[in-house]
Symmetry: C2
Subunit: 334 residues, 2 copies
Amino acid sequence: MADIKQVAERAGVSIATVSHVINHTRFVSESTKNKVHRAMEELDYQPNSLARSLRNQKTKTIGLIVPILPSDTSNFFFMTIAQGIQKALKRHGYQVLMSNNSTEELEEEKEQIRLFNSKQIDGLIIASIADEVSYLKDTVRSHYPVVFIDRKPIGYNGDFVLADGFGGSLQAVQTLIERGHRRIGFITGGLGISTSNERLNGYRQALAEHGIAFDPSLVKVAHSNYESGYESAKELLAQNEITALFVANNVLTMGAVGYLQERQIRIPEELAVIGFDDYDWTKITTPPLTVIRQPSFEIGEKAAEVMLKRIENPDQADFHEYRLPTMLVMRGSC
Amino acid sequence: MADIKQVAERAGVSIATVSHVINHTRFVSESTKNKVHRAMEELDYQPNSLARSLRNQKTKTIGLIVPILPSDTSNFFFMTIAQGIQKALKRHGYQVLMSNNSTEELEEEKEQIRLFNSKQIDGLIIASIADEVSYLKDTVRSHYPVVFIDRKPIGYNGDFVLADGFGGSLQAVQTLIERGHRRIGFITGGLGISTSNERLNGYRQALAEHGIAFDPSLVKVAHSNYESGYESAKELLAQNEITALFVANNVLTMGAVGYLQERQIRIPEELAVIGFDDYDWTKITTPPLTVIRQPSFEIGEKAAEVMLKRIENPDQADFHEYRLPTMLVMRGSC
DNA sequence: CTGAAAGCGCTTACAG
DNA sequence: CTGAAAGCGCTTACAG
């Protein structure tokens, strides 16, 4: 691999000059500029970014930690966010170093951050699995900004970019109520994590607005996997006379729909259904599924944008919470 | 951020000694070892991997280029491969730098490789969009090994890790024939790329084995997107009396199923269907879909393994092609 | 208009 | 058993 020294030699100039023409960082005469460019071409020179980063003390790299589980369904959401982040950062010459915390274990999350630290990232975007992240004080030590996405943990100062899960849930349940439903089943992921809590609150709020009493037996809290969604739907239908079902999580939606289709329950005649997250497959169920769409790509873009601002302006302490609106996508299931 | 110098000072030893205790690279007495460990703890020292890589001339980083399109369906396959790669490399202390060529444009692929070069990757795993990759001679210049996955381009020496698309396709069509079908529609992605070619060959081979004449009008070559799958199914059904359909690509499968469910065509009574790739959503269509499963995770693991071997043993020139078997997953659609 | 040299944080041959 | 010093490939203050 050619290095800057070889380029300098071939061009008959100093390495300082080569560096300056690469970075446009001081005036260089046209003629020497040309010589340098020619030399770079001929040697197919690529600057070594390790050396550059070491010297500059910045890597133009943002670490991204998301929990992408083995289940392919759950991948969509964070993958789409990741694409949004990548696209926005690329425009500014930043790279993303993505790490997948597939175990959902806190220790691995910490380990991953340490690894990022040793790689000298300029910032961290994280969907933390922890609801309490004061441990970041030790690992991050404010060396770089942190932007939290999707979930809202406490205990560390950073920005948040989140979907309006409350509003989405509210709208879904309002819609069902307006269609005449009174006994509405609700399946959600584990409480304690902010997204689930907010969605449950939206459900309760919609009921309250319409004077419908909250019935805890209509709520199933499930683990975020297919089987759990399947079982929850099963139990809900066995134990209660519900006419509608709102599933506030994508993997659980798939499991619940799996059960309904197996039992050949007619949707929406026997049971109206609204799911969560607008994925391609929701178009090909029978009937196509009405869902609450989360702005996942937009969350990624926004997170990147917020991060970039923080990097430009490191010592501002006014952290923000950005809420991106969800959307009801009407299809045939309600 | 604490550096090695500060650790050395605090421990009252030279930086050479600190380095050696970190890397276990020469004998250090227990007592000084302890002093060093204590100092590292107290300073929460993390070695700077930029500096280390610069010095060592290796980064323990493998570049990965895959085409993950905006469509979420197509993501599964390469995401799963990526997870396989990541898992296998992690065990050996390697990181993966993933880059998503979402435009499917060759120029972007080249650009991405250049970027990887400047980051000094130790190896490249790539699902190239090009069928002819002699341009890699210029960009890679044999500085590091290249492993090709999924597709099989020509023009550059490297290993290949591929699914047995021919065998999978053969088995699917054989299965349909054995169930009595004679007029079997076939939808595939653009020919020219190796995977599509192989799958078409499998289709033809199965027909030939059973003495069924190949009818080109039963074959639709489509772009790899939902709409194209939808349209292909539509045309195929309008123009021909087919009793079975084999869709040799996951996104196209979704589009085709979308059309069939919209038209309320009864599966398998009116039309037997076999799709491609075993995703979660294939379980919840009506009826659940019979598919050819590709060993995507295993492709990733294998690619990583092959890469690691190449890195250990750089100047061996016996490149291999690894074919991983597909599997027929029987469900209700045929 | 351009160069010589220090230094980013490591590893490792050389020396004792 | 351990240290002093060179060097990985860059950038940038200093100097002219």
